[in-house]
Symmetry: C2
Subunit: 337 residues, 2 copies
């Protein structure tokens, strides 16, 4: 089986690639497990050395839109594409054209590339990483208390709109038989290792990651702000399940909400203190940023992920466990307690 990951050198792409290579096989769409022959990582950046050392890994480095235009992003004979590449939420608010190019344009071109492979005789599968950010609260249209798989998305940011448009395209390209396409809506992933990115939700990782590296971190929203989170492990599990389940188990062609742990930013800080001590939380600077508060505050916090549950997916059980999992997986993390 030949797998392509767009955004393959990003945090989730690398984690997904490592998981796939470790598993060695994948049961696609309810079929028997098949050995993974190649994993092609398409990204602006070079993948890390451990991945490049694996003979199954190929890197295609460049701008995704340019690579798609040059017909270099999707190798012939691709069985499965995980489309993770995206411009993130705060970037898209700051630069509308960047978001339309990266989130709308590249997704459209990628679907066309899949369609061309189907026309050439072999229909690829595609898992599209959509986002919780398709949901947005506004005074004119308040979100319901609980988000379900059939709640009408009313995005309050360009990132959410572009992801929702991507879902619609995946649905119709799938209905037409141009690709076997499925969309999963990722919750906010915490704790992300590595460097801060341009996501408005970035502080939800930074507020744990930075103190555990003995660095200060800013929290730009009030402690009472509710959030819907998933650990990296649960997120990868959800992305993989979207490729694995049968059509019957998947059900409708619309996007599936992944499970979320509902917590608040204040409770996240309390969990950090419980695990890593008050010297860790003393590194947190609570300093409201209006734009971030508006965008993050528009996202829902309570998600009933019924379809994901029917596929055996569960949310994380506690944020304390997420923090402990992050420390266990990141030997450099320092607890100051």
């Amino acid at each position: 089986m030949n797998i392509v990951i767009t955004g393959g050198a990003g945090f989730l792409g690398v984690l997904l690639a490592r998981t796939l290579l470790k598993n060695g096989s994948l049961a696609l769409n309810g079929a028997a497990p098949a050995a993974i022959t190649t994993v092609t990582l398409v990204d602006r950046a070079q993948p890390p050395a451990d991945l490049m050392a694996d003979a199954r890994v190929h890197a295609v480095v460049g701008d995704l839109n340019d690579l798609l235009t040059a017909k270099q992003a999707l190798p012939a004979g691709t069985d499965l594409v995980f489309h993770l590449a995206a411009a993130v939420s705060a970037e898209c608010e700051a630069d509308f054209d960047l978001g339309m190019r990266s989130n709308f344009g590249a997704t459209h071109q990628l679907l066309e590339a899949c369609r061309a492979q189907t026309a050439a005789g072999k229909q690829p599968a595609l898992v599209f990483a959509s986002s919780l950010a398709v949901f947005g609260d506004s005074p004119q249209q308040p979100l319901p208390a609980v988000i379900t798989d059939t709640t009408l998305p009313t995005p309050q940011g360009s990132y959410g709109i572009q992801k929702f448009i991507g879902e619609q395209m995946v649905t119709d390209y799938a209905r037409k038989g141009f690709v076997k396409g499925r969309s999963v809506r990722l919750m906010t992933v915490s704790v992300r290792p590595g460097k801060p990115n341009g996501a408005a939700s970035g502080f939800l990782s930074g507020m744990i990651r930075e103190p555990l590296a003995n660095l200060r971190a800013q929290i730009p929203v009030p402690a009472s702000t509710p959030v819907a989170l998933a650990s990296p492990a649960r997120t990868i599990e959800g992305i993989l399940r979207a490729a694995e389940v049968s059509d019957a188990a998947w059900g409708a062609r619309t996007a599936v909400n992944l499970p979320a742990l509902r917590t608040t930013v204040g409770d996240m800080a309390a969990a950090l203190e419980k695990v890593a001590g008050s010297k860790a939380t003393a590194l947190l600077d609570w300093q409201i940023d209006a734009a971030t508060e508006r965008l993050v505050g528009s996202w829902p916090s309570t998600v009933d992920a019924a379809r994901a549950r029917s596929m055996g997916l569960q949310p994380d059980t506690s944020f304390e466990d997420i923090v402990r999992g992050y420390i266990a997986g990141n030997p450099d993390a320092v607890t100051l307690k």
Copy 2:
């Protein structure tokens, strides 16, 4: 006030232009009525002679995408655009690329043209004609019994998907301040005069129009098929209202369902017989077409148009009245009774 109508030589475009010219003024967005200075009709076809005889009317004839690329579709100083141009439902199912070009691509380019005018100093308003076809019934995701303004659209055709994507773009371009954009979802318009077009719903006009011209007409769905209709007059009223009401009266940035008369194809035939006699209904050929039955059968029939109602819009009261209205407005119609 300078008004542009895309699809301005089509049936609805012509009717809208005649209405605007007769009214002479328009109260845009809750403001005082302003005199209509120009009405620019953008269409592949030349507008009819009565419109061209009006000194306020300008025609821009050509392919909308090409005109937009050449920056010729939107005159400088445009105050209001009615975007009616579209590839219709059966065309989009038969030719996916045509639909993406006409319904997605042209709408995107038109929004960019509006954005450029805003950047140049004057923000235009835009009313986007979306469609009932954004809603679609499927075994995996049955439609609720009653459609509301917050029902999740799950289009079962490319036309519906492309219209729904158009709504999302209008919403985000409006949120960003690039255009004052609003989307209204048109119900199936019946009775359309003129020639049959490529819409899967075309027979819902043809089954009245053709017998009233002493011609045979095919009905490709069972008599029990429920449908949601609006007369041309109610449809134009809804499109105009979307331009007229204030932001407060409009409410949320998502699309507004226009009101619909719920009836069945069998009851439509009965209304024809009551008004025009059994010689008219003897001209109907009931002959199922599977593709049309699938697409038309996936559309909803019962719409609770609460937002439209709050703007004073009401559905037609009976299909008999619609048939009588068609005969009154079309002197060539023959009743064989």
